[in-house]
């Protein structure tokens, strides 16, 4: 099941008509604990309807003094709303209620997936398909108009910003990345020059990263079989990974988890073919 189909639980901290206000310190502690544990929270005094949708059930918590209403706060969607009267606002009590409601509604347990994926800045993107051609993990695809888009966010490898490095326009962001412009900061002309230089460096390393990986891997394998020196082969692989990690900012664990050279070649060909087909159709349409 895609993360887009998973059911989540939305928490409403209701302090409108019929409920007593929660003490400010307790409110902060409860909201903070929920957020840290991956739950989204709406704090409302009831002046406008609560965002709600059938995919996200709602748990409304309030200090109703033992007189919890049968129905919850007004919503502008079709979510099922469960109301809980809470006198004890200690974070562990609140979390306990929320987890128990989530389990009974079969909502996902938050935190299982670290949200790391590319975000395209279409103000900069030229639809050149380099990202689609580069990514081995099927993160990118095209829409019905052959426009590049991120289709499988959860296929992306955590902390790997490699595709942003091949984008000639610095149009790919990873909002959780440490530095600009990849993190979404304004793109300067110096950034653009740097991005272009990175691509040149990548070509100098041997055409593309994958062919370099393949070559290195084959050479290492051949050396391994000839020399039967596993330490030396391992050192060579590590040296290669460090070099790649430094040049492309690719985490070593991502490189270590790459499939076999044959599978890399197959996936790279598949991605390139997809990109070529989209470009061809775009050229025919223009």
């Amino acid at each position: 099941m895609s993360i887009r189909d998973e059911k989540t639980l939305r928490i409403v901290l209701y302090e409108g008509a019929g409920a007593e206000p929660v003490p400010a310190e307790s409110r902060f502690a409860a909201v903070q604990a929920l957020l840290v544990n991956g739950y989204s929270v709406t704090r409302t005094t009831g002046e406008r309807p609560v965002n709600a949708h059938a995919r996200n059930d709602v748990l409304a918590l309030g200090n109703f003094g033992g007189r919890a209403p049968a129905s919850g706060p007004a919503t502008d969607g079709e979510a099922q709303v469960q109301v809980e009267d809470l006198a004890d606002w200690a974070p562990e009590t609140v979390l306990g209620k929320v987890r128990s409601a989530g389990a009974s509604k079969q909502a996902i347990e938050p935190g299982a997936w670290k949200p790391w994926f590319p975000v395209i800045d279409y103000d900069r993107c030229t639809n050149c398909m380099q990202c689609l051609s580069f990514c081995l993990f099927g993160v990118y695809g095209v829409d019905t108009a052959n426009k590049i888009q991120v289709q499988n966010n959860d296929n992306c490898k955590t902390n790997c910003p490699a595709c942003s490095r091949v984008c000639p326009e610095a149009a790919i962001m990873f909002p959780k990345y440490k530095a600009g412009p990849i993190n979404g900061d304004v793109v300067s002309s110096a950034d653009l020059q740097r991005e272009k230089m990175k691509i040149d460096i990548s070509s100098l390393l041997g055409g593309d990263v994958y062919s370099m990986l393949r070559d290195r891997s084959e050479r290492a394998r051949s050396r391994f079989s000839k020399e039967r020196d596993s330490d030396k082969a391992l050192k060579e692989r590590q040296k290669c990974l460090v070099k790649l990690a430094e040049s492309g900012d690719i985490p070593a664990e991502v490189l270590m988890s790459l499939p076999s050279p044959e599978e890399i070649a197959r996936r790279a060909e598949e991605a390139k073919a997809k990109a070529a087909a989209a470009l061809q159709q775009n050229a025919a349409a223009s």
Binding site: I3, R4, E6, T8, R10, A24, F28, V31, Q32, L34, L35, V36, N37, G38, Y39, S40, V41, T42, R43, T44, T45, E47, R48, N51, A52, H53, R55, N56, D76, G77, G111, W113, K114, P115, W116, F117, V119, I120, D121, Y122, D123, R124, C125, D143, T144, A145, K147, Q149, V150, N153, M173, P175, K176, Y177, K178, G180, N183, G184, D185, V186
Partner: protein, 129 residues
């Protein structure tokens, strides 16, 4: 005209937003008595294409999160384009807590989402197709 909605992102899964800024902004929101939406992680909410983002993007909204360019395209990627004339993004990665709080609490909205060559509505329409 009603006051702008407030959305706060806790950026729960990484430490790129200074904890003291996040906590100070959240504390002020909790103390102030205003209604607000708080998401554990706006990136995750966008990746899930959470329908609540569409509702947030509808009308005036102030967003305490990260870079305006990133926030703009996170909303678009979720099929929920921001109205750039009615959205203000406060960047908790770079702005001090006091500045973010002041901007969130004042009734006026200062739109600052970057305009660009692309119509974000058009991009958002392509989402999921």
């Amino acid at each position: 005209m009603s006051a702008p909605k407030i959305l706060y992102c806790h950026c729960a899964y990484t430490q790129v937003v200074p904890a003291e800024v996040k906590d100070a902004v959240l504390r002020k929101l909790c103390d102030s008595g205003v209604s607000f939406e708080a998401v554990a992680d706006l990136c995750e909410t966008s990746a899930r294409r959470d329908p609540s983002l569409k509702q947030m993007a509808d009308g005036a909204v102030k967003i305490a999160a990260c870079y305006p360019r990133a926030v703009k395209w996170l909303f678009a990627a979720a099929g929920a384009p921001l109205n750039i004339e009615a959205a203000e993004v406060l960047n908790m990665r770079t702005q001090p807590a006091a500045e973010v709080i002041e901007a969130l609490m004042k009734p006026e909205l200062t739109p600052n989402v970057p305009a660009g060559k692309e119509t974000i509505e058009a991009v958002a329409e392509g989402v999921g197709k």
